[in-house]
Homo-oligomer: 362 residues x 2
Amino acid sequence: MPNKKSHSSALHEKAGISPPEIISAAVVKNIQQFRKTQPSSTELVNGILEGNITALSRAITLVESTNPDHLAKANEVINACLSHANKSVRIGITGVPGVGKSTFIEAFGKYLTSLGKKVAVLAVDPSSTISHGSILGDKTRMEELVKDPNAYIRPSASGETLGGVARKTRETITLCEACGFDTIIIETVGVGQSETAVHSMVDFFLLLKIAGAGDELQGIKRGIMEMADAIVINKADGDNIKKAKLAKTEFNRALHLFPAKKSGWIPTTATCSAVTHEGIPEVWETIEKFLKLTKSNSYFDTKRAEQNEYWMLETINEQLKLNFFNNPDIQKLMDLTKKAVQNDETSPFAAAQLLLEKYFKE
Amino acid sequence: MPNKKSHSSALHEKAGISPPEIISAAVVKNIQQFRKTQPSSTELVNGILEGNITALSRAITLVESTNPDHLAKANEVINACLSHANKSVRIGITGVPGVGKSTFIEAFGKYLTSLGKKVAVLAVDPSSTISHGSILGDKTRMEELVKDPNAYIRPSASGETLGGVARKTRETITLCEACGFDTIIIETVGVGQSETAVHSMVDFFLLLKIAGAGDELQGIKRGIMEMADAIVINKADGDNIKKAKLAKTEFNRALHLFPAKKSGWIPTTATCSAVTHEGIPEVWETIEKFLKLTKSNSYFDTKRAEQNEYWMLETINEQLKLNFFNNPDIQKLMDLTKKAVQNDETSPFAAAQLLLEKYFKE
């Protein structure tokens, strides 16, 4: 389409101004704007410590970036924020889709801000890589909380691996805490490995359930129940109240079959309604009791130190694997090797040895 | 003690023979003997395929060696054995100490050899690193089976990591199968992570229990119950029979709370007595039913292919970690870094980044 000139290009001709000049001016403006949006790490840290939400959001964007320069800057910001963090309580909330996580977090979060708390809501969503954020992605699901000046909601980071997504959320916690948020809620969906990742970054782990028609225990992963510090049966309103109370009893019995927790805490069960707000204050009371116990028996601090070490080692392990499996020579060999191993043409160990020799020779 | 000559040295003087000559002859003899005990990999493979137990034991010793030359030779032997392996059934047996694993395996193994089967009994023992083999270490606990020409018992390998110990056992399975053993029993103790490792190398996973005084479910790790294809309550003899039957009912109810298995198999419960041999043939019947089902729905082959891939990736991950954490420069920095991370002086991610940069720069 040689004759189809753009509207602005035609304008330039009419005005007798050469298009390159105008473009150049636009580029300069862009660069200026770009510079404006790229504050230094000191500016970011100062902003965060003053409670500036824009600075917080920008720093989180750096954390989530895959650009190596951004990574270095993000590490600077996080390290500077560290001594200002750590005064919060970190609460993990999980539950399968349909259990009412968003409405619960909205009701719970509003209750917390009414107590004068500053609440940050983050997410670890293993599906976010594909859907670009399926939980918390739609902030309108928390209409009230999103308007609350004492609440900050950030959708899940996306990434190639769950480990990467979880790491970014773990780093975001530090930034939110330095920004003055004293209650961090981390939402995750009740399937797969994401609970383990969230459990490794929170002080208190809450499993949200609803009363079903039949056997309440059917289909829950035992590992998730084992992690729970409390099981809360949501949607205990209207016709559902009786069923919810029955479910509570059944979960309570099941919880007692588990070995005692290192924290000394005995997991609790409760019912609540995110609609009527019944039971919501009691959830917070439970968490306060938990904090009192674990701070007095020093479990709280011990666990946080262990979690820090865990995240250091996890980050190392993940980077070692990424470096290996993203190596172009390894990638070339991998499919062939996997097939040979699956078909018993070579042993898994000889195959691994071959790939490792190739990798370390370079 | 300059005047204390050895008896033989005094003899040499009396006989007028210079000691060095004799020593030299002894060394030559030693070397000859050493060569005799170091068959080539081809000799080992031929021996194994002929069902020679000495060749099998020597090859397993190579697998368990930490000498890199032995590793290469072990891989050669395993690869040559691969096409001759895989006709067996691999059975994992777990249970806490005191449940009677040894007596059960002895009774079960004897029953299998009476059916004309060739039975190899291996172990994955996470404590073997410290105790140098606490389970199966004392072969006298299986007095009858150890004398059986159709049975082969090998204690757990020892190693620095559970992953390493498990890998060696996984490799030993291939050698045993090539040597003609058609039923491989892998014992592990019912604590910690070793069950997961064993579960990843067997076709059928059996959880051994005894009837207790009270709540049968108390204290079992849910993950282990979730892996079980059958729960067998041992020591169902004498006064114990009634209690064992009650326990069976209780376990049966608990098992039905778990999600359906990919294999299509519904886990079973049974009672048995390793003393009276009651219920032992039924355990084998159950395994036969399992094999019939999973071979007809192709789960058996799919799972084995998946297990092969799993062991390749696990070996790679373990070697990557070992290479990193055994690096002298990393080791020098590690303690300092861990402390800084635990005390919130640096973030887990910045610390990991620092160590990784150091590692990859070399």
